[in-house]
Symmetry: C2
Subunit: 267 residues, 2 copies
DNA sequence: CAGTGGTCTAGACCACTGG
DNA sequence: CAGTGGTCTAGACCACTGC
């Protein structure tokens, strides 16, 4: 009999009214079994029981562990795979998604060169301009759901493609989860920033929300992006979330769009 | 026995190597049953057998019709619902998605007011500036996969929210599928343009691809959007597709982003 | 060859809708 | 109440991977 840690009481039993006896009597809060399984898997992911890039137990193993049928586990995994949290590979297993993989390297960066595919210009050069620790201001507090007075790490960097600066970014991170992150660590790391966050801080960015505007380049922005004051830039404000919709990063990007464009599929 | 029109030969039989005996010998082109069912449903949708807003037959009916199990039909419908082509409503049935519904009114328009929810400023005012019929130029031919010399309808309009002009759009449509579309018809129609396309021309837009840049307002654009020359505008080029990825519209939009922003979720 | 995910089936039962 | 989609199960078999 496997070591069961989660289900002290069997899952199947009554509707499992999660919302205890609070004031919300109308909705019985029925939650299907596979949703509960999904929640348990999510908990294991957040706790780091299975790390990015690793495989999780097979469907049959999980079925035994959770005492449900394999089909129910399958449906839970299906949803997690659809949300890009897990990655299924037939014949091999199911893996925790990671930003370190080549395929999904730029999943969160929607800027692509006008001609040619992503990465056709070679790898991006990342230059950290500055990095410091400050007290979060009102904007950041709201975006990251912090408390007034909380510390944040702030970084500014420029991304260049083929030698030409294209993106200027200001980044804010809550200091607590990223304890120990220094300017050197950031500057020396080759590869996507989100991959660093995974391996060093066990923080995996899962989804993000972006608000996009057109703005005129300020003198400071123009200088860093090697263009003229007043040049139209794409302003991209991103809030990135970890598991359970916890906001973990605020990023304000300014994109030159004379050789690149932001690409989006809507359906 | 139901009137079977599609499956002259039973579906189940051998792997059904769709890619006939062309040059591609390595891949056996195995296609699961539910994918084939999905294709058949897609064909019925395109042919207009079930119109937008209407319900399609129940899963059990379709299972009988296609001679497969209900679970297989279910999986096909699941995918179509995930792609927003169908809409499931428990207890009622499965419906063909439509742009006429209030909920999905603005599914393709990602511009939202900076404060408040979509539509909080009341309905959009749509003003057709001009509408004419021309020969497609190279750009349009490429975007809509036309043949040189083909006719297109071109329209220009301004969308205003709360009385203030926010969006200027140039729209190109292939003349053939939209035969009979006039400036009056466009100008007089209240409601989303895509809803008109559905009811009048049996053309349903299913997905779109947008390329976004920041540009400076030209004198003409500034005048129509009631702003200054040089104001940064969001340039949004959209190609919209019907069923089977057929391009059906090219749209070049210019958005003022001083009171609104383009919102995007990335995962 | 064994182990994984992927497909397909058949049947039971539940939740929701509307007459 | 009947009809619809939604959940859950159990079992058989297929396709893919790697030893």
């Amino acid at each position: 009999m496997p070591a069961l840690s989660e289900p002290k009481t069997d899952l199947k039993s009554p509707p499992l009214s999660v919302a205890a006896s609070t004031n919300a009597p109308s909705t019985p809060a029925f939650s299907p079994l596979y949703q509960q399984i999904k929640g348990l898997i999510l908990n294991s992911l957040r706790a780091g029981e299975w790390k990015p890039g690793e495989s999780i137990p097979s469907e049959t193993d999980l079925a035994v562990r959770y005492r449900v049928s394999q089909g129910t586990v399958r449906k839970a995994i299906d949803e997690l795979a659809a949300e890009n949290l897990l990655l299924r590979r037939q014949g091999k297993g199911t893996f925790v998604a990671t930003h370190a993989e080549q395929q999904v390297q730029f999943r969160f960066l929607r800027l692509v060169p006008d001609t040619g595919a992503r990465g056709s210009e070679g790898p991006a050069q990342r230059n950290i301009i500055e990095c410091r620790r400050t007290r979060a201001n009102a904007d950041v507090i709201k975006a990251l759901a912090l408390r007034s007075g909380d510390q944040v790490l702030q970084a500014r960097r420029v991304l260049s493609f083929g030698g030409a600066p294209v993106i200027l970014e200001d980044i804010w991170l809550p200091a607590a989860p990223f304890k120990g992150l220094t300017a050197e660590r950031l500057a020396n790391y080759q590869g996507p920033m989100y991959a660093l966050f995974e391996t060093e801080f066990n923080v995996r960015m899962v989804r993000a929300q972006e608000s996009i505007r057109a703005v005129s380049a300020t003198p400071a922005q123009a200088a860093l992006l090697n263009t003229h004051v007043g040049t139209p830039l794409l302003s991209v404000e991103r809030i990135a979330y970890t598991y359970h919709d916890e906001p973990m990063e605020l990023r304000r990007g300014y994109y030159r769009t004379d050789t690149h464009h932001y690409q989006n599929d809507v359906s």
